[in-house]
Symmetry: C2
């Protein structure tokens, strides 16, 4: 149950057994059915999820009422609605289990408390933030420099799992193009 999480943490930061147990004690398991929302816009409950199995999708609703996907999180990754997690504000995004998923989560309160008691956890969070920043910057750069076809081809090269595992609808949404456009791109026309 906690093996993947333990490996994820200890691969990134050094901490003694007591501290590790202290950290783990705040993580609770959560099973989610396919399409279930484990976080909803407006919720006060902000959680950091670790995906043991399955896939999470974070998305928000655009002013025109349509959805826009922020990211997908597959096995062995952390995911949260980070802006709200950081700011302690109401959730501004939904988090959806795209597949039946097995999750572990820690509340924002517990997470931040650990930052003050376990220096290694502060380091861990720093690494998480640095990584999140890089991912985000790269994604922004891709939107600025690439057209839809190029964005799809890059995704296929760098993240084939997303294309293989997710529906066209979701992939198109992630790329910020229409299903029709993605269909045409895939058929090579």
């Amino acid at each position: 149950m906690y093996q993947q999480l333990i490996k994820f943490i200890t691969d990134r930061v050094q901490l003694n057994e007591a501290d590790l147990q202290q950290v783990l004690s705040h993580f609770k398991p959560l099973d989610a059915k396919k399409n279930e929302l484990v976080g909803r816009t407006g919720d006060l409950s902000r959680r950091m999820f670790f995906v043991n199995k399955g896939c999470l999708r974070v998305y928000f609703i655009k002013p025109d009422g349509r959805e826009a996907t922020r990211r997908f999180a597959f096995e062995n990754t952390f995911s949260t609605s980070l802006a709200s997690f950081i700011g302690g504000t109401l959730l501004k995004e939904d988090t959806q289990a795209v597949e039946q998923s097995e999750l572990l989560y820690i509340s924002r309160e517990d997470f931040y408390a650990l930052l003050n008691t376990i220096p290694a956890w502060e380091k861990f969070y720093r690494g998480f933030l640095e990584h999140a920043y890089i991912i985000n910057t790269t994604r922004l750069e891709d939107f600025i420099t690439l057209n839809p076809r190029e964005r799809y081809q890059l995704l296929l090269e760098e993240n084939p799992e997303m294309v293989l595992r997710l529906s066209n609808k979701l992939v198109a949404n992630y790329l910020n193009i229409t299903q029709e456009a993605l269909s045409r791109i895939k058929s090579g026309s």
Copy 2:
């Protein structure tokens, strides 16, 4: 010289006088003429800048040879080519003084060394990363949800200084639209 920097730091994190002096001792002044590059793509020297006066612009060159602006940093803000600063890699962006500028900078090596010796500095950096993440996420969201006219209007509301202080060319580049398009937007056509 260091007053603005001291205020910036002490507004965000608590640290004793000795630690503060220890931090400040690593910051060196740098004056930059208008249009001077204080960081160049390919450089090994990665610095975190604090803008006492003036304005920095971080940009990269797109595959088609054109520039794309990542951000502007006016007075009393930190700025760096963050992806390279984090990763310790060669710079992938230029940093340009858009106006004659008075800067303070700290090297990546000194910055990271402080993280290990001064816990408050780790907190300070955490805050910086959290803020950078939020800014970046918001910017990505704006690109996904808004058209050029809407992006300009939002900039005008939320950051009028940019529009007032920078040339149309730079503002257009930041918004990822052509000068012609911005000119037409401004004239309300």
